[in-house]
Point group: C2
Chain length 364, copies 2
């Protein structure tokens, strides 16, 4: 089968690497000549809404998927009409707009932090009558890794914050004094097979994920699975989905979902019987899903900014390195490494070494 | 780094798939336009002793390795002189010739079945004065998967057997009434780090490997490691090496070694902390070796002749499929699948299902 992928970054790269053993071939649409995945398939170089390239992709790919949620609506519409696209366009529509997303979650009785739509300074002032400080003002669209977000600590911040949004339609969200951040990766096939990975416990800094650790028998697992299942059902979803949540006083508040493989599930490459990448492919090809069971203790650490020296990473017992073939650049995710072991002591020692090493290379 | 590989079949393919996460790039020399690995790197299409292609490979690759032992001596010599080639040419010289190989093992006090050189019918008759029937007559060079071999059951078979060899310099080996066949995969880096995988217990039929199962705490492990270590030392070896042995009355008799990643180690992709493919790369790049520890119970089953239906393979709990992107052809290894689990009952059930499925697709 030929699988089209919109986007040729590290997620597409890891999807493609998982697809070769299943005899899959890839056609990758990405504007960048050097994108990390393009060596692993045919490269259609151009914009995501280029009509000629979309037509070629639709004609030649048996199924199309994507590695990021900001696929232009026109591209999603065209692909939906002319080929099979998984996850479905509906998941893109909802996740592309933070306000629509939050309302969608709310309608499914999935708890969230308090939020309100903001289209001007007046609406912002009004919303802050009922939302407590601190709060976060976010553009409704095109935000990722903490971009397009401003924190409001008191009334005096309102004007500058709104100015920073440059009149973009926005959403204000109450800041959640969370105890921890978790995410759940789930997957569904067209045959309605559904599987859930153990939840990941995630540490962000500067809006960027740093560490994600697989949690066994986590008390939040059951509710996280229920939320993910409700979301999957409502979206008639196919493929891997990630739902990020805050835990506050034993409650789970959904933050956002990503209709794709997700950074917080990278531990699954070594840490689960079948990785999120393999299961995303199994799902979109309607093959039986693989087991999502964890292989002992595992965690993932991102390398941000600078490519690490492989010798240093691989000297850490049970470390695996995953480079994205990207040049070093400030705040850029260039690689990740995982630790996976059945020996808890070894796992914890190695993880601490890896976190320390990643700090050394971190430029953000 | 750029890694050159002589040969673009499934072994090169799995080496390359392991190399992408380490940010390695590949240049693959193979005469076939459609070889399974060539999509994963740059393809130099041509013969293995083509002087211009070898010159290009030597100039552009930081290190060259190979996926088969029948690399022409002239190519090995050229690459040794003009770049770095691992495993070293000496390993090729020895393993390319069954007689040299057996003498080499003998000189290292590694036990083998009785053998003798045979260059004509008279030498064959003479050798069979001291070797018991049944015995196997093998061409000294270019044999694999049981090709170039004739079994002798009694004196009457001698003439026809020698005729079948078409005067090729040969070796006669006493047939070993073995209890089982095992192999050990070992790996060494230029920094003299050495690691051994748990031995594999192997089942051949028609000279082709069918099933290889990882053995935990096998009584043969210690002696197998000693033999492999002696071999590695004598060859000043770098990379992955496989040593195949027969077990007879608690004794291990070495059959042959392969200076490369090996079919009996394919279970290590999912079944070990670091696979033989990753460790081969770590070794030839002089990176720290990865752990060779097994992830629970695991085994590999080959698909011979016909490509299996992925749905059937992946419906087996904990099965992983590895297709080689080859068309179906009689007696051809086209794919393998592994089973890996910490649950012994699940493992055994799945393995039996997988073996049965492979039989259904087997045309040999």
């Amino acid at each position: 089968m030929k699988i089209g992928i919109l986007g040729g970054g590290q997620l597409a790269r890891m999807i493609a690497l998982s697809g070769y053993p299943l005899a899959q071939q890839f056609i990758i649409l990405d504007p960048s000549r050097d994108a990390g995945a393009v060596k692993l398939g045919e490269h259609l170089q151009g914009q995501y809404d280029d009509p000629a390239l979309l037509a070629e992709l639709a004609q030649r790919a048996d199924v199309v998927t994507y590695e990021f949620e900001n696929v232009p609506a026109s591209a999603a519409k065209y692909l939906t009409e002319h080929t099979v696209i998984y996850p479905p366009a509906k998941a893109l529509e909802v996740s592309q707009d933070r306000l629509i997303e939050k309302n969608f979650l709310h309608d499914l009785d999935i708890e969230t932090a308090p939020f309100a739509a903001v289209n001007n300074l007046q609406e912002l002032r009004q919303a802050m009558q009922s939302i407590a400080y601190p709060a976060i003002l976010k553009s409704r669209r095109f935000g990722y890794d903490g971009k397009g977000q401003v924190r409001l600590n008191c009334e005096n911040d309102l004007e500058a914050a709104w100015e920073a949004m440059q009149n973009a339609p926005s959403i204000i969200e109450g800041f959640v004094p969370f105890e921890r951040e978790i995410s759940i990766i789930a997957v569904r096939s067209p045959s309605n097979e559904i599987a859930f990975y153990p939840v990941s416990e995630n540490q962000h800094r500067g809006g960027i994920l740093r560490v994600a650790q697989c949690r066994h028998n986590d008390p939040a697992q059951q509710l996280a699975e229920k939320y993910a299942a409700d979301l999957i059902k409502a979206l008639d979803y196919v493929g891997v989905i990630a739902l990020e949540m805050f835990e506050v006083n034993g409650q789970l508040l959904a933050n956002e979902f990503a209709p794709r493989v997700h950074n917080s599930g990278h531990w699954s490459i070594e840490g689960a019987v079948s990785s999120q990448f393999e299961n995303h492919l199994r799902a979109i090809l309607d093959l039986p899903l693989g087991s999502t069971q964890a292989n002992g203790y595992s965690a993932m650490v991102n390398f941000i900014g600078n490519n690490p020296n492989p010798t240093q990473v691989l000297a850490i017992p049970n470390a695996h390195l995953h480079c994205y073939d990207k040049s070093s650049r400030k705040s850029r995710k260039v690689a990740h490494a995982t630790i996976c072991s059945h020996d808890k002591t070894l796992f914890e020692q190695s993880l601490q070494q890896l976190i320390q090493l990643a700090e050394d290379y971190d430029d953000s």
